[in-house]
Symmetry: C2
């Protein structure tokens, strides 16, 4: 299997985590959204990352890809089998892909890290506005749903945890960590899931990438 | 089951179509996003529509709800069972929920219909810009994927068709129809799926709502 994208992207990381935890072989082809290779729209119609090629199957969108990996390679499940828990899991993934994408990625990581790597100027005013206006309600929600122990929807790390964790890992790269005195459950939950071996592998790779540039 | 939302919303229509085709009983509780009832965030954390209550299960997000209905009430399937086709189906639904939401809803239906119903002024400049800048590439893509006969991913109307169809039905309420000389496959496909009895029921209900105001 081939994953197209930048390994440090929170959306690409979702796919890499799923592949690693399921023990599937894969290669990464480095693609960034601003400069996609000729013909990339045949794999990813909107030229977005991640995209996956598995034999003669081409797929785009991190959630579509992760659900596909689950359906086609069900060993080591990353979604609960119970329909109600599975729906809860999908809600958290959707929340991460939409709300957290805006708050932790577009309004924070993208401004402070991606723009810097690309030689562009951070719009720190935008970042501060985001941290004041959007971040507190996001953290309030995360605190309200974070379990005191274990994971969001199952007995092990699943896609819901991967999606949420992945977003806040990139917020961390932009210098933001949840305040453990205000958000004790969420801060502890984040520490717990970041300790997972698959996240550790990814974060070590990310460190090389960030330090190289 | 109780569906919270406005029946004319393309996202709410996805859920109503799923319930109707699966033959499940439901009631609709009228909710609009601008003025949600007290405590609605307990059902829909972002106060968005649609939301669903099924016994003690509360869910938000049209895709999360439709996947839940499929998992919990599998009779009359609305997603293919093959993992590759199911992934394709999910891609089309994601495309509808993101790209079409912007092009056919936010930049068109919302401006010309919703704003009018609410006594606000249509930003026709925004609509024209959207129709010139975004609509052509959207229609090019839809034409490239529309089947000459039948449906997007199966032998019957499924969620992929429902999501795409639902978006363009609302574009129709805003006076936009795809040009059948430029987009013959897509225009014919839209006519074909709009003729489905479940879409016909919904569109008759919509007509009452639009004409009432």
């Amino acid at each position: 299997m081939k994953v197209y994208g930048a390994t440090i992207s929170p959306m690409v990381r979702k796919v890499l985590m799923a592949l690693e935890i399921k023990g599937l072989d894969y290669q990464v082809e480095f693609v960034i959204p601003f400069n996609t290779p000729e013909g990339f729209e045949k794999i990813s119609p909107l030229k977005k990352i991640p995209a996956l090629v598995d034999g003669d199957v081409s797929l785009a969108d991190s959630t579509v890809i992760c659900e596909y990996l689950e359906d086609r390679y069900p060993e080591t499940p990353l979604y609960p089998s119970d329909p109600v828990l599975k729906a809860k899991a999908r809600w958290f993934e959707e929340y991460a892909d939409t709300v957290l994408m805006k708050v932790t990625a577009e309004g924070l990581y993208f401004e402070r890290v991606v723009k810097k790597l690309m030689g562009m100027e951070t719009d720190e005013e935008k970042v501060q506005k985001n941290l004041k206006k959007n971040m507190p309600k996001t953290l309030d929600y995360m605190e309200s749903v974070s379990p005191a122990e274990g994971f969001l929807v199952g007995d092990s790390l699943m896609m819901a945890d991967i999606a949420i964790g992945s977003s806040f890992i990139n917020a961390g790269y932009a210098g933001f960590e949840p305040d453990s005195s205000k958000y004790p459950n969420f801060a502890a939950y984040m520490q717990r899931i970041k300790a997972h071996p698959a996240f550790q592998v990814r974060m070590k790779e990310d460190a090389k990438f960030i330090n190289k540039e």
